[in-house]
Symmetry: C2
Subunit: 320 residues, 2 copies
């Protein structure tokens, strides 16, 4: 395969001139321009992008860390990023961690060795201190409240939104409210847990550990929730479900067991995924595509560390 030198020779010009033609720099005479183009066409020339990357010290690649790629939550986030990436002529490198710390560190290493220009972490596992060690190598953007850490972030205030959701349920008459979360640890889960405890305290409601259902990510996880639910003597009357997928799963399984929604159990989802619209699930909308877009934007704007809070919106439908 021909390289830039071959083209230069063939067109009777210097490599500089070829480079100028390739990159549309001014100051190349029409004749030479033509000669170079002809030579490139003749050889079916393609510049070696890795040489460009080395030379420029950039790859136009942005890493995206997700625990799993087959969840609509991350799907929408990625969609937003991909759209924005397209605009900026960037590509996304997907790094699936399955919530294993070493994979996240691998992603950070990619930033260090310049394989990617920036890194977006959609769901963090590493300690902040670990992340901090890598900020010197390029922009790192988080999808959680990262204020106070030297990285940009676009996030939902889960304390606030969880509190709002709880108060909404309370005001609808619910005193016994349970909730589901994904991971037990993590900033978001911690915020929710705190919101929950503060809510209980405020209203003088006793804490019931059986009302909390961790490890709920997908539609099918709803099945287990319902199974555990029916075995409870003292059941919650409402469930705050941190994913519409899980909410849909719970709703479906409840129907099968003749648990009527919302009469027997109120359900409130999160995200406002399309499935919640079809199933008429009351939910808190998070504009995930927009969040993805903003995350990418922050990754591009590596100079400045910024934090953007995304407001959520309550969407009342038929499950509360």
């Amino acid at each position: 395969m021909a390289n830039i030198k071959d083209i230069a020779k063939m067109a009777g010009v210097s490599v500089t001139t070829v480079s100028r033609v390739i990159n549309n720099h001014p100051y190349v005479s029409a004749e030479k321009q033509e000669a170079v183009r002809r030579a490139m066409e003749l050889c079916n020339y393609q510049r070696n992008i890795n040489a460009v990357h080395l030379s420029k010290g950039k790859t136009f690649l942005v890493g995206v860390v997700v625990p799993f790629s087959n969840h609509p939550y991350f799907g929408l986030l990625i969609e937003g990023m991909a759209n924005e990436a397209l605009q900026h002529n960037y590509k996304l490198v997907l790094i699936q961690t399955n919530y294993e710390e070493n994979k996240e560190i691998e992603a950070l290493a990619m930033l260090k060795d310049k394989q990617i220009d920036a890194l977006i972490i959609c769901s963090r596992i590493c300690e902040w201190s670990v992340i901090g060690d890598f900020t010197q190598y390029g922009p790192i953007v988080l999808c959680e409240d990262a204020r106070g850490n030297n990285v940009s972030s676009t996030f939902v205030d889960h304390y606030k939104s969880f509190t709002a959701a709880l108060e909404y349920l309370y005001q609808k008459g619910h005193k016994k409210i349970g909730y589901t979360i994904g991971r037990k640890s993590g900033t978001n889960s911690a915020q929710r847990s705190k919101a929950y405890k503060d809510f209980l305290e405020k209203h003088g409601i006793p804490f019931n550990p059986h009302f909390i259902f961790p490890w709920c990510f997908n539609f099918e996880d709803g099945e287990l929730v319902v199974e555990r639910l029916v075995q409870l003597n003292d059941r919650p009357t409402a469930l705050l479900v941190t994913s519409d997928q899980v909410a849909a799963g719970i709703l479906t399984c409840c129907k099968d067991r003749n648990i009527f929604i919302p009469k027997d159990l109120a359900i409130m989802g999160f995200d406002n995924q399309p499935i919640s619209k079809v199933m008429r699930i009351t939910t808190l909308e998070i504009p995930l595509v927009e969040v993805g877009r903003k995350l990418f934007f922050q990754a591009m704007d590596g100079e400045n560390v910024t934090h953007e809070e995304i407001p959520v919106r309550l969407i009342e439908r038929d499950t509360v």
Copy 2:
């Protein structure tokens, strides 16, 4: 940031020796090895991966073309690839096309300019001739029957499986069978269409264009199907749905409209996604994670063009 030259100078050796240490080549004395390691640690040295890529002519990156990334079908496919990629120390570059041809061509160009070592196309838009122009630049792997084209493929024989599904429904007493597909064009859709027509002909059943529902991808698309269904005077008694997600959506909407499954309408899904298990949807299992794994494997084995047919398995549940 220090480069290999700096390290060499600092350790009092040549760059060759440093390179040897980095890559664990034999024939480096213990002392020099130690000296190099110390220097690297001192400088917090990180080799520039782009220089490696340029030098080696490889990037350890594999491109993955998908129309959308937020669909569980592609999610599982990617999951399989990601697992295998990890094993081989490769990373995946996600290229989302939204079914736009130019984006797919962009992906092919990435192969040409050596930004990726191989390309996996999960859902093709380009003509075969276009793909053919790029096979010289690296392995291209398809997730559809690509026999006869100079690319590897792992695929389901959709003619065969569709026929099997139709016969299964027929044998259950269904004569009026409709089906949903995603895109109208595409190898898979063509195979299914042919299977459908052959099936009708074989059993002397007249063709009814209203029984075909295109553009069905997601859960929410099931809503439209049901809406159109109820407006039909002459309704199908069974529906072959080419995605469990859509099947789940249809099932949910039917329940809301008091259309009883399978009494009023039999539904058969595809993929055996977790959702189909929870909702007890009869489906044809496609081992997508396994398919993803194999696709990646073929991408690695660029020397040989191979084709692997994946058998599907009928999973009888409660919707037929």
